[in-house]
């Protein structure tokens, strides 16, 4: 009975996580970049920093533990990130929208994140 409950709980949690993963990602992204200034973001772009390295290790570990449950992450694109940032951090969103170099850097970071998720699944 307990095993069944745990299984149902896992299924429910996995389903919920798969459903809410975009919102979850959006919240994490917004929280990470909320205090980032345009100058800092420009420096990340010009020096080609890896965004995941800016994530605190404990948050990164938690994300990796959740990532197998994220389900399909095809929604995770540079456009989605810009759209996610548009409401809360419009300056950064405009930086990536209007600056081609910045947009390309964002695409690279999204690809890196996608790869990390895929690796954690496998």
């Amino acid at each position: 009975m307990v095993v069944h409950l745990k299984r149902y709980g896992d299924i429910l949690l996995g389903g919920l996580l798969a459903e809410v993963s975009p919102e979850l990602f959006k919240g994490i992204l917004t929280e990470l970049l909320k205090k980032t200034t345009v100058a800092e973001a420009s420096e990340w772009v010009t020096k080609d920093y890896v965004l995941l390295e800016k994530v605190p290790p404990e948050t990164l570990a938690r994300l990796k533990s959740f990532s197998p449950r994220f389900g399909n992450t095809s929604w995770l694109t540079a456009e989605w990130v810009i759209e996610a940032l548009r409401d809360d951090v419009p300056a950064l969103a405009s930086l990536f929208m209007g600056w081609k170099k910045g947009y390309n850097w964002l695409v690279r970071q999204v690809n890196i994140i996608q790869r990390e998720i895929e690796e954690s699944r496998s």
Binding site: L16, E19, V20, P22, E23, V38, A39, A41, S42, E43, V45, T46, K47, D48, I82, E83, L85, R86, P90, A91, L92, A93, S94, L95, M97, G98, W99, K100, K101, G102, N104, W105, R108
Partner: protein, 341 residues
């Protein structure tokens, strides 16, 4: 050899050299000799008379007078007398037993009465003791309550000092107790009592302080428990709020997706707007407020254009090539970035 008695002096045989017949009155031992002779003569006469009486017994002489008559003492029945004596003894015994029983009964009654009285007295004493203990406890509780209610409650010593001071002001003189003006033992006892009172007072104050500290700690503990409970409640509320808001988030996401598919996003809306031309030095980065919506617009160091994230207003940047770049270029060139350069 004969043994001589050393404790008794040696006997001396004194032989009167003079013949008793030749002695005269006045000579030593004359009367002693006469007495011996007379005694011997009397004894001789008596002996002679007794021999004569034995040889010729005389007829008994008639008494000079004679009392005649008789006294009848009655018949004495010993058995009857014994029976009567036994009956009397039995009667006396019965009366004694009855009296003893009555006395015992009276004593028992008296004992019962006394016992009952003692029980009553004991009960009364018990009640009085209970009453006294109750009053003492009530007094202590009231004192504690007063002490708790008013933290500046005066101690017994302070109250005594105040009473002394007031009595002094009213003209009453406190008798000096001490070795010079009283019994030293009494003074010592009074000192002991004062010290005991001071110790008791100090203990009481310490106990009160400890109770106060414990009470404060208890209150803090309760406060902490309340805070913890509130935090748990808030966490539970947040958790359930987050869970309950999942459909809302999903709905929002779906709505946004629909909006994106329909092409009504802010950026798309402004596609038809005429770009605003701004000039900047080469390598200059910065921010500006969108003249349409006031949203902050960021400009990259090598950007040729910018788009407002709020309304989609486009900006065209004219770089002045004469100035040096403020931000150094990227260490590794990435594909697609050379277009802006």
């Amino acid at each position: 050899m004969s043994v001589e008695e050393v404790h008794v002096g040696p006997r001396k045989l004194e032989i009167d050299p003079k013949n008793p017949k030749e002695k005269k009155a006045g000579d030593p031992g004359y009367w002693e000799d006469q007495k011996v002779q007379e005694r011997a003569k009397r004894e001789f006469i008596e002996e002679k008379k007794m021999i004569e009486n034995l040889e010729n017994p005389a007829e008994p002489t008639a008494a000079p007078f004679q009392i005649k008559g008789s006294v009848n003492l009655g018949d004495i029945d010993v058995q009857e007398a014994s029976r009567k004596a036994e009956a009397a003894a039995a009667e006396v015994s019965r009366k004694a037993e009855a009296a003893t029983a009555a006395e015992r009964e009276a004593s028992q009654k008296k004992i019962d009465e006394l016992t009952e009285e003692a029980n009553k007295a004991k009960a009364a004493l018990h009640d009085a003791e209970l009453q006294r203990v109750s009053e003492q406890l009530t007094g202590k509780i009231e004192t504690l309550q007063r002490a708790i209610a008013g933290g500046n409650q005066k101690t017994i010593v302070e109250q005594l000092s105040e009473v002394d001071s007031l009595a002094g002001k009213l003209g009453y003189i406190k008798p000096q107790v001490g070795p010079s003006n009283g019994d030293p033992a009494l003074a010592i006892e009074l000192k002991k009592l004062e010290q005991q009172m001071a110790v008791d007072d100090r203990n009481f104050q310490a106990k009160m302080a400890q109770d106060g500290r414990e009470w404060t700690l208890k209150l803090r503990e309760l406060d902490q428990n309340k805070v913890i409970a509130d935090e748990r409640l808030a966490a539970e509320r947040d958790k359930w709020g987050a869970i309950s808001s999942i459909p809302t988030h999903l709905g929002t996401a779906i709505a946004k997706g629909l909006v994106q598919e329909g092409g009504v996003a802010g950026g798309v809306q402004a596609k038809g707007k005429k770009p605003i031309v701004i000039s900047a030095n080469k390598g200059e980065a910065g921010e500006l407020d969108c003249p349409n919506c006031g949203t902050l617009v960021a400009i990259g160091p090598t950007a040729r254009g910018a788009i407002c994230a709020g309304c989609g207003q486009q900006f065209s940047i004219n770089r002045n090539p004469s100035t040096t770049p403020a931000t150094p270029p990227a260490t590794t060139p990435n594909p697609g970035e050379g277009e802006e350069e």
